[in-house]
């Protein structure tokens, strides 16, 4: 697929982050000049049963009747979810267009979030997420600052850039890079100056100094190889303070 056609995929569910995700995705799509798609994945949780009938009696054509009953029930739920999701996505789409996204498509899919995104990966340039999904409010109620379960799973499953956002949209002004000299972070360093999103922002890379001191020879960091194309961290140029 042509790189220009790859989209910014805003993954939304009905959590408090949805609006912010739409805003950031719209911003990113504008900066990248890429199409925007809003995706809502409906996980049907087929592993959960609905049992009100504990009679244990099976009559004539038990299997067929049960199949009809269960599929009718599923169909009713699916229709309701679909309609609700469509309205929700439509609202976000309007919001993204108003925020200046060049074009915004919307799509609902069934399945698990990580599987769905792994399938779509090839046609995506940037994933945008909230830090936690709607289910995190019930499954991880105490840890409101932690990444949600599904987000974490997706981060592990996909191999494309991911932007996770917290509540409230604010146009990014600086980019900070965490750098420890490994191949992955080197790639990040190489991508940063070319990425359109961050072209306008001053880059800062954060490099845990302790590690370099302990293994000066073995670390594949910029001391032993060619220096990365960005400035090393120095306390004056960074808004954040690294842990030591």
């Amino acid at each position: 697929m042509n790189k220009q056609d790859r989209k910014v995929l805003a993954c939304v569910d009905q959590s408090r982050f949805a609006d912010t995700v739409a805003d950031y995705a719209a911003w990113a799509a504008r900066r990248l000049d890429a199409p925007l798609e809003l995706l809502h994945v409906i996980d049907r949780h087929l592993e959960r049963g609905s049992g009100e009938d504990h009679s244990g009696a099976i009559g004539i054509n038990a299997q067929e009747n049960l199949l009809h009953e269960l599929s009718d029930k599923d169909a009713a739920v699916a229709r309701a979810e679909r309609e609700q999701g469509r309205r929700f996505l439509n609202r976000l789409r309007e919001r993204a267009l108003a925020a200046g996204a060049p074009a915004a498509d919307m799509r609902q899919r069934h399945g698990a979030l990580d599987d769905t995104l792994a399938e779509q990966e090839d046609s995506v340039r940037l994933f945008v997420f909230g830090r936690r999904g709607a289910s995190a409010e019930t499954t991880q109620p105490g840890a409101s600052n932690m990444l949600g379960r599904n987000v974490e799973r997706v981060v592990r499953a996909v191999h494309k850039p991911i932007l996770t956002v917290t509540e409230g949209f604010k146009q990014p002004e600086r980019v900070m890079l965490a750098y420890d000299g490994t191949a992955v972070t080197r790639k990040g360093v190489e991508m940063t100056p070319t990425a359109r999103c961050s072209r306008a922002c001053p880059s800062t890379s954060w490099w845990p100094a302790r590690r370099v001191r302990t293994h000066p020879g073995s670390s594949p960091g910029p001391r032993t190889r060619s220096p990365p194309p960005v400035s090393r961290w120095s306390p004056t140029s960074s808004p954040a303070t690294p842990r030591r």
Binding site: E47, R48, H54, A57, G59, I60, Q63
Partner: protein, 491 residues
């Protein structure tokens, strides 16, 4: 992790409740199937406990219930009668081993040769056999038994209209047992049928000599048990797949059934497999995960330990009522209505499967006949997809035959009959570019046609043998090789 959560913990409350419902329904079934097999009720009860618990971990289809089954019990009747329980236990272990091997070599793939009609025939035959197995309890008995059975069926089917919170088969059993005890009816009870479990199952080795003679006795039974067990298990897995709209791992299920049967054999249980009726009950009660299967097994054992003494008091009439319900619920009643609507060949396959099974009491033979019959009908149908057209060209000196369709053993005669060998003509062109030659019968039919034309002094040109057909001809054909006429002269 995701899968573990989905399989075990996603549906805890419903799984536990469904497990309890299933356990209550398993007790009468396990006893009834033990009686069919001719062993003590405890053999079936231990088997049901053990298989349900083990398959919860090893099975490939979460939410499917496996235990001692009627299909398997029917196969082992003769073995038990002629050689006794110990040989049954040994056969059960061997069955498990064969099933593990079947899972490893992915025998589940062969299930695609079992057509829809054969599956329908299988479940119908199973239902009929379960029903027939109840008849001895209903012949030469007093009117009390008929009254009890009828009352039992009434409760089973009507009680759900009152409440669906309590399993109606349980209500039936409790009510009929109470009536029998209070009225001091002189009717047969479960206690009359043999020994009930009085302790937890313990590990024991079957008391059989480990020699070839033993193997020769048990191997045929183990082989049939393996086939029947895997057939019913894979069919049930497909049913549960459809009901829950989720996939299953069929090869893991084969291996899992094997492990469960080996475990069953070592604790004094009979061979078992997945149960269609119970799995439907489980799904209906909200059971979806492995926890439902595990809890069914554990509840079964706990119930036996708690109320073991009372189990002996259950009148056989109550069990018969439950088993008739299972048989009615298993039977595919729509298939009777569809007998006329479906193609005759499908209906014949279904009826043949049922008839052979009921006649032989062996589901494996029924399925074998069904599969062969469907293969036969398929070959017959595809064999009719063959058209040979011809037209004279070049002012009557040449005739071009155009063959399209499938040429194989079932259509080879029709293929040869499509040519006019008596025609007086200089040259014949056989265009087979739109035909498929599937086997050596097809190739030799082409050879025959070509050689017959040549005997009349007609030149033959075969054109358009496609790649597949060309390889077949290269390998087996004679007409384009030296000495074709010599070969024919010998005939």
């Amino acid at each position: 992790m995701k899968s573990f959560h989905q399989d075990w913990l996603a549906n805890v409350r419903n799984d536990l409740l469904a497990g309890l419902v299933v356990a209550l329904a398993l007790i009468p079934e396990a006893i009834a199937f033990s009686i069919i097999a001719g062993v003590d009720p405890k053999v079936g009860l231990y088997a049901s406990f053990c298989i349900a618990v083990v398959i919860a971990f090893t099975g490939g289809r979460p939410g499917m219930i496996s235990a001692a089954t009627g299909a398997m019990a029917l196969v082992m009747v003769t073995l038990v009668k002629e050689h006794g329980l110990e040989y049954l236990l040994a056969a059960t272990i061997l069955t498990g081993m064969l099933q593990i091997v079947a899972g490893w070599i992915r025998l589940g793939r062969l299930m695609r040769f079992v057509s829809r009609s054969v599956v329908t025939g299988f479940v119908n035959a199973l239902a009929i056999l379960i029903f027939m197995a109840q008849l001895p309890e209903l012949t030469n008995v007093t009117w009390h038994v008929y009254a009890m059975t009828a009352a039992g069926l009434g409760i089973i089917y009507l009680f759900p209209y009152v409440t669906k919170a309590i399993p109606s088969p349980l209500v039936t059993i409790v009510a009929l047992t109470a009536v029998a005890i209070v009225l001091e009816l002189d009717i047969r009870t479960v206690g009359d049928m043999g020994e009930l479990p009085d302790s937890l199952p313990v590990f024991l080795l079957p008391d059989v000599p480990l020699n070839l003679e033993t193997l020769a006795i048990i191997f045929p039974y183990a082989l049939t048990l393996m086939v029947v067990g895997l057939l019913e298990s894979l069919m049930t897995a497909t049913i549960v797949d459809d009901l829950t709209d989720t996939p299953s791992d069929k090869n893991r299920e084969c291996v899992g059934q094997g492990v469960a049967n080996i475990a069953s054999g070592f604790v004094g249980g009979m061979a078992g497999c997945a149960m269609i009726g119970q799995s439907v009950i489980n799904v209906k009660s909200g059971g979806r995960g492995r926890l439902s299967t595990l809890s069914a097994g554990l509840f079964l054992l706990a119930l036996l330990m708690l109320v073991g003494d009372w189990v002996a008091q259950i009148p056989m009439a109550a069990l018969v009522a439950v088993m008739i319900m299972v048989s009615i619920g298993t039977f595919d009643w729509n298939s009777i209505r569809k007998l006329r609507e479906n193609p005759p060949s499908s209906s014949i396959v279904m009826i043949a499967t049922v008839a052979v099974t009921v006649a032989t009491h062996d589901l494996a033979q029924g399925v074998l006949v069904g599969v062969l019959a469907s293969g036969f009908f398929f070959a017959h149908k595809v064999g009719r997809i063959l058209h040979i057209r011809s037209a004279a060209e070049d002012e009557g000196r040449l005739r071009r035959y155009t063959v399209s369709g499938q040429v194989f053993f079932a259509s080879a005669d029709a293929f040869v009959a499509g040519f006019d060998f008596k025609e007086v003509i200089d040259k014949v062109v056989i265009d087979v570019s739109r035909a498929h030659f599937w086997d050596i019968t097809a190739v030799s039919a082409l050879d025959k046609a070509v050689v017959k034309f040549r005997r009349e002094g007609t030149d033959v040109e075969v054109i358009g043998l496609n790649e597949a057909s060309a390889t077949m001809v290269d390998k087996f054909g004679v007409h384009d090789k030296d000495g074709a006429d010599d070969l024919l002269a010998g005939h």
